[in-house]
Amino acid sequence: MSAETPLVEARDLARFFDVSKPLLNRVIEGQPRLTLKAVDGVDFTIRKGETLSLVGESGCGKSTVARLVVGLYRPTRGQVLFEGVDMGALSTRAEERALRKRFQMIFQDPYASLNPRWRVADIIAEPIRAHRLSGDRSDIRKRVDELLRQVGLAPADGEKYPHEFSGGQRQRISIARALSSNPEFLVCDEPTSALDVSVQAQILNLMKDLQRELGLTFLFISHNLAVVFHISDRVGVMYLGRLVELADARALYDNPQHPYTRMLLDAIPDLDMSGRARTPVGGEVPNPLDPPTGCAFHPRCPWANERCKTERPVMKPTANGGAASCHAVEERRLAPRAQKV
């Protein structure tokens, strides 16, 4: 593997869902098939050891991307490449299995993602057994104890059941389970959204520590821009199934290009009480079943013109070193952003 090959790459990734009514209803009511384009052409790369975050509001397709990357959904179009190998084109189960154990996923709801009938030690050991990494009971036990310590729990906790733990502790168990097959790449879908802020801080710190110690690569999905800013090296902003901007975290927050990114940043409550002026943006995310023509953001965009209504913008390099898909940015007709302190 050359130094330039990214660990994970998504190429024109798309996933459509058929949400039509049953055939009989369609015939009687004379309605056509309905396709929901949850993700429609997303490209990104993740380098080894870095954290890429995808951020956006409900329904923008960020969780669908996470599921596509780990293979829980098959892409309708496009590919996911792991070290340059197309995951959809693997011919044998063995090849697939070898690749699969190198990545894991952490889910949002620590109540739903742990089997309530299993002891914690068995939950954590499941990936070890599933991937046949070890068959030796005492070896597995030793590994589970080590993992429990690594995520800040005690080895004795392995004998308990999930209901004996709080939300934050359950999320630690999820992380221990994800780490048990020694993965290189973790996909985290809103891992702290269900947690209180002080517990969220514990989990975010833990994830950063583990990343440093184990050299992990993260794809991090969240709707919370402040959390994303804290944890990420690079950030992709999604809107209605497409990436609208992708840049280094610092550059994105200091010098956001796309009007939607600016709007999201302005909507973050101001905890420094600096009295920063906010530009309120009206409107809501449109119905994804019937997305606007051209640029999907144009009905809410203060800089939209005729071109935005008809021509869909593509990702182009921007002044902040990233890329954005916006005609107004490309034509340099955006007003400079109100300076924030």
Binding site: D196, V197, A201, A226, A267, I268, P269, L271, P280, E284
Partner: protein, 332 residues
């Protein structure tokens, strides 16, 4: 008296009798809200913030009950009123907004019918007057084409629009006090900002007192005039929002503020408070926060701190007791 508080809560205690003993969800808290003021009540899950809100509007779920203390609305006690009398106040003088707008609206009736029903229950208006007021309310909360939308059903509105309808319902009878429990939590960030600015504007325009219960310090910072930080059923710190956020005095508030990731700050790690909030059946002796507090000393483990006035805020922490030095043991 012009500046008499709309709501005054004195030494409120909410208990849940269970087979294994009584759980105290809200323990001896006091606060007031003045007309036109927004009081934020913030805390993590299990802090008792929602319970406080439910107690004030008399909607505690049994077996929960108010064990002691008083709730005064406009100087009149409402915690011991018979159900029917409280019902007249609730809805007319006290409006409520809950987290999930879908559960607050009846899916079988148009929003117009629900608004008009609420208006006619509490105000003496005929159908045409009530209809006109309903349209006007919907316009006020920013629903486009209100005259047409009034005949729509709740499911025909998006989440943000539904929450606006719920706010219109809460305002229908011109309440003096509005209690909102996590009104923006179910909404996306861009919609959240819209609802926050709407709430602020309405409070200003109507001069109503507002009790905003939330877990989100950001929402508090944007909306509230004063804030009460709750921990394990008690108020840890209460004061003007700027003072509490900028120079928190209680170690819990300090930790809480440090644990919130902030855009533009590049510290590698967040401040974390180790451990978790105690369960209601295992609240530690003395200050409930002492096992997690880095500054706890002997007195904190023995004696429960009462609010101590420091400048414009009141802090329930022995660190701020002028007589601290006389107490046994030093800091740390």
């Amino acid at each position: 008296m012009a500046d008499r508080p709309v709501l005054e809560v004195k030494n409120l205690r909410v208990e849940f009798p269970t087979r294994r003993g009584t759980l105290v969800a809200v323990d001896d808290i006091s606060f007031t809200i003045a007309p036109g003021e927004v009081l934020g009540v913030v805390g993590e899950s299990g802090a008792g913030k929602s319970m406080t809100g439910s107690a004030v509007i008399g909607l505690l779920e049994p077996p929960g009950r108010i064990a002691s203390g008083e709730i005064l609305f406009d100087g009149r006690r409402i915690d011991n009123l018979p159900y029917e009398e409280l019902r007249k106040i609730r809805g007319k003088d006290i409006g409520a907004i809950f987290q999930d707008p879908l559960t607050s609206l009846n899916p079988l009736y148009t929003i117009g019918r629900q608004l008009i029903e609420t208006i006619q229950t509490h105000l003496d208006m005929n159908q045409a007057q009530a209809h006109a007021r309903a349209v006007q309310l919907l316009e006020e909360v920013g629903i486009p084409a209100a005259a047409r939308r009034i005949d729509h059903y709740p499911h025909q509105f998006s989440g943000g629009m539904r929450q606006r309808v719920v706010i219109a319902l809460a305002l229908a009878a011109g309440p003096r006090l509005i209690i909102a429990d996590e009104p923006t939590t179910a909404l996306d960030v861009s919609i959240q900002a819209q609802i926050i600015s709407l709430i602020k504007k309405l409070c200003r325009d109507h001069g109503a007192a507002f009790m905003l219960v939330t877990h989100d310090m950001g929402v508090i910072a944007e909306t509230a005039d004063r804030v009460a930080v709750m921990y394990a059923g008690r108020i840890a710190e209460i004061g003007p929002v700027r003072d509490v956020i900028k120079s928190a005095k209680h170690p819990y508030t300090v930790g809480l503020m440090g644990s919130i990731p902030k855009v533009g700050h590049t510290e590698a790690r967040l401040t974390q408070i180790d451990g978790a909030m105690p369960r209601l059946n295992a609240i530690p002796r003395g200050c409930a926060f002492n096992p997690r507090c880095t500054k706890a000393f002997d007195r904190c483990r023995m004696e429960r701190p009462e609010p101590i006035v420091v400048g414009s805020t009141a802090v329930a922490c022995w660190l701020h007791d002028p007589a601290k030095q006389e107490a046994a043991g030093g800091v740390r």
